[in-house]
């Protein structure tokens, strides 16, 4: 972050403004909220990282079933532990902001839904995705038979090259048919 105080440097601010879809106020607010998540010792490190548990305590993410995946996708940590620096946090907010393009949103949505990080959405990914959507409790989950049928229907509809998985272009094609994706793929602080 380049600063130990709770102020963000002006040149950094304008740089972030240029490179992300966030406005100045949103960046300042993000900085404030990020600093609140930091522990006392971490505040003096040049580029502090917030551990995943702290990030997940944000009210905007607390109940979101995809919260862990979101942290993993935006994290640039070498240890793959889902911890976020301030810039990762800004990336997150930028992708989920009001003015982000459909392409950015669909790119990151794809990565969030790709639970095993192999670059395609196969049957296992889709099953985990549907389980996230339908909730934790048993009475809302689909039965095995329904799940199987659902996944085969999804693959039938979206898998154009019939290789059993959905890749990024196919995913983006499906997304482009739904006008509500952009408005529902939003998180605002």
């Amino acid at each position: 972050m380049g600063t130990t105080a709770s102020q963000l440097r002006k040149d950094l601010l304008s740089e972030y403004q240029e490179l992300t879809f966030l406005t100045k106020q949103e960046i300042i607010l993000a900085h404030k909220r990020f600093s609140e998540l930091l522990s006392k010792e971490d505040r003096n490190i040049p580029t502090p990282r917030v551990p995943m548990e702290k990030v997940l305590s944000l009210p905007e993410l607390k109940s979101n079933p995809f919260r862990k995946r979101i942290c993993h996708v935006f994290s640039t940590s070498d240890m793959k532990d889902g911890s976020l620096t301030f810039e990762d946090f800004l990336d997150l907010l930028s992708a989920f902001s009001d003015s982000a393009t459909l392409e950015i949103k669909s790119h990151y949505a794809f990565r969030i839904f790709d639970f095993d990080d192999d670059g395609t959405l196969d049957g296992g990914d889709l099953e985990k995705l549907v389980n996230c959507l339908t909730g934790e409790t048993d009475d809302t989950r689909l039965t095995t038979e329904e799940m199987r049928q659902l996944i085969s229907n999804i693959l039938e509809e979206s898998d154009i090259d019939k290789d059993g998985t959905v890749n990024l272009s196919e995913f983006q094609h499906v997304i482009s048919r739904s006008p509500d994706f952009v408005s529902s793929f939003k998180i605002v602080l």
Binding site: E18, F21, L61, T120, L133, L150, V174, P179, S184
Partner: protein, 686 residues
């Protein structure tokens, strides 16, 4: 083998073309190139410079490549073909946007951006070269690039930097922003791109004279936007509502905010150019002997009728600052003065111009936002329930409360199960004839009730005006009684009653009809409500503009415009009062009733369509009345402010999130376009 595989894929590919673009040109270029198998060169498609075509091309080549991968012979042919290319080409090809995003390292993302920026540059130059992206991608063979990743990345990055530097400043920013790289990467890229322009800001790159002007305009525009966005009106409240109820209900409150900003704009312009000059130079008029009772605030008569509120107050002449203001309202001007006046302000002209310009700007803004949102949300109306779309797109990330998240999960589960059972069992065959009869009955009920309501209002209005005329002739000298004033409120009361009760009837009727698809039900209900409002407004306009404007003396009025203005003011107020009453008693009591007596576990649902139509109705009244009552936007502003807080509290206490599907973006398009038409009704009164 390869031939047969190709043959099978052709219908799929063509289907994809149609659904992707629906473009004849794209299809022609596809078929034109001829998709014979075994010849790589045909895949080098020309003239595909736009991004979607690039996607098409990559998909096509993807499909082709997949097909070829499956057959062993074609793999061998691939190897043979590949060896003919140079190593640079191979390296470039192997780092093409690959299928695997996880392995899609920064390398591939950078190459993709490279390609895009190259295309952008070429698009601007309007050349039609064969772009790199049209080469077939041999993604499956991209593994070999791993070992050379580091220097690859550097080469690609350098290429990207070069490409970016050759773009214009605005494009560069947009390109960088839209790149799905991490912020640290983008910072590095940016430093490289601007390494030769250290210290300068992005916008000050090239400086010919016309771009100075553009820059100035840019700064002004962004300054205005910044001010507007920094107002952050109701930000916290909106976030709370969105977190609990989702995007659909949020769109209603955003609509209120949009209307509020509109009205503030109207008020400011009118106030500045019209009300202020007149307020500074008030015309002298005979002081009327009106008792100041509290009722004036509601009826707009008495003390208020000769005030800034209404048309009749404004002088029909030019104001001069050095001139003494001693004219009567519709009287002569101040033209006999011989003093050289400092500033001549022609009131009638100002009146016309101000209001005309306001309408004009409003119309333009509405049409612009309508076209923008229409473009965004126009899709083929496939109501067969596409499962992939439902699974990928239906999660609303804005919802943050635990209860609401659980409700959303339940909704999605229900919808998925319904879809699955539909697919499995096929649709039920409902009795055709009985369905038709029910629909006919429903439509006849709704249309009939609308017609009778309009007729009733017409007769009642005639009766009221006749009555008031008689009374006016009777009470010509004496003071006007409070009862008589209160009678003026009767007509608005009746209209508001109709507006409140009939939509309830429509809801009942549509429940009876039992539609298959919720979207159709929504549109039918919106249409019926709209018809009701349009017919009521039509009858009223006919009355005011047709009858009263034509023969004002018959109704005993000095100034018909003031009267119409007062009527509209009364309508607006009474509408608001009835809304308050309905919210407090209707929703609150209904909740008590349904939970206590009917023993339903779930609270009532917020009816978005109906509430939005109410808003549009109120705004139409404001626009209609703008000509006659320049201060009406102020009333509307107050009303909207109060409405926001009232609806918000009512929502939080009484209602819960809806189970129905709400297509937020399509609905907001519809509402903006519905708002457009009444706005043109206003100027037509001019």
């Amino acid at each position: 083998m390869a031939y047969s595989v190709d043959f099978n894929l052709r219908p799929i590919m063509e289907l994809e073309l149609e659904s992707l673009r629906g473009d004849d040109t794209a299809q022609d270029s596809m078929t034109g190139t001829g998709l014979e198998s075994g010849s790589r060169e045909t895949l080098e498609m020309e003239v595909l410079t736009t991004e979607s075509r690039d996607r098409l091309a990559s998909q096509m080549s993807d499909v082709r490549e997949r097909a070829d991968e499956r057959s062993e012979e074609s793999i061998q042919t691939n190897l043979l073909v590949r060896k003919r290319w140079s190593t640079t080409t191979l390296r470039v090809l192997s780092s093409m946007p690959s299928r695997s995003i996880g392995q899609q390292s920064r390398l591939e993302i950078i190459s993709q951006c490279n390609i895009r920026s190259t295309q952008l540059r070429r698009y601007h130059r309007q050349t039609q070269d064969v772009s790199l992206s049209s080469r077939p991608s041999i993604r499956g063979y991209g593994i070999e690039a791993d070992s050379e990743d580091v220097c690859e990345e550097e080469t690609k990055r350098q290429e990207l930097v070069n490409n970016l530097q050759s773009l214009s400043a605005g494009d560069r920013v947009r390109m960088l922003r839209a790149t799905p790289l991490s912020l640290a990467e983008k910072t590095k890229l940016r430093k490289l791109v601007f390494s030769d322009k250290v210290g300068q800001s992005l916008l000050s790159s090239q400086v010919p004279c016309c771009s100075l002007l553009k820059r100035a305009l840019y700064h002004i525009w962004f300054g205005c936007l910044f001010i507007l966005s920094s107002l952050q009106l109701w930000q916290v409240a909106l976030k709370r509502l969105g977190g609990r109820f989702g995007t659909g209900v949020l769109s209603y409150f955003l609509f209120i905010r949009t209307l509020l900003l509109f009205n503030v704009f109207l008020f400011l312009i009118n106030g500045l150019f019209l009300v202020l000059p007149q307020a500074i130079h008030p015309p002298l008029h005979t002081p009327s002997s009106h008792r100041v009772t509290g009722l004036e605030l509601f009826t707009g008569t008495g003390y208020l009728s000769n005030s800034l509120m209404f048309y009749g107050y404004y002088t029909n002449s030019t104001i001069n600052t050095s001139c003494r203001p001693d004219e009567i309202t519709a009287g002569t001007g101040c033209g006999t003065t011989s003093d050289p006046h400092m500033m001549a302000y022609n009131i009638p002209l100002a009146y016309c111009f101000t209001i005309g310009i306001t309408f004009f700007i409003t119309g333009i803004v509405l049409v612009y936002s309508m076209s923008k949102s229409f473009g965004r949300s126009f899709r083929v109306f496939k109501s067969q329930g596409n499962m992939a779309i439902k699974v990928f797109c239906s999660w609303d990330f804005k919802v943050s409360k635990k209860m609401s998240v659980r409700m959303q999960s339940e909704n999605i589960t229900t919808q998925l199960k319904e879809l699955l059972s539909e697919v499995k069992g096929g649709e039920e065959e409902k009795g055709r004839l009985s369905g038709m009869a029910v629909h006919l009955l429903a439509w006849s009920i709704s249309l009939g009730s609308t017609f009778f309501c309009a007729l009733g209002i017409h007769c009642f209005a005639k009766y009221m005006h006749l009555n008031s005329t008689l009374r006016r002739h009777e009470d010509a000298e004496g003071e006007v009684s409070v009862v008589h004033e209160a009678r003026l409120l009767a007509l608005p009361g009746v209209v508001s009653c109709g507006n409140l009760l009939l939509p309830g009837l429509f809801n009942l009727v549509s429940w009876m009809e039992n539609f298959n698809s919720p979207i159709v039900r929504l549109y039918v209900s919106i249409f019926r409500n709209l018809l009701l409002k349009v017919s009521i407004l039509g009858v009223l306009c006919y009355h005011w503009l047709g009858k009263i404007a034509a023969e004002p003396e018959q109704h005993g009025l000095q100034c018909w415009e003031s009267f119409v203005g007062q009527e509209l003011y009364r309508f607006l107020l009474v509408d608001f009062i009835f809304t308050v009453l309905y919210t407090v008693f209707g929703e609150f009591l209904w909740k008590r009733f349904s939970q206590g007596v009917l023993r339903r576990r779930r609270k009532p649902v917020f009816d978005i369509a109906r509430n939005v139509l109410e808003l549009i109705y109120g705004q139409t009244l404001t626009w209609l009345g703008l000509l006659f009552t320049p201060l009406l936007p102020a009333v509307q502003i107050l009303k909207l402010l109060l409405l926001f807080h009232m609806k918000k509290s009512s929502l939080l206490v009484n209602c819960q999130a809806s189970r129905k599907l709400w297509r937020a973006s399509q609905m907001s398009t519809l509402f903006i376009s519905l708002l457009c038409f009444p706005s043109f009704l206003g100027p037509s009164c001019l």
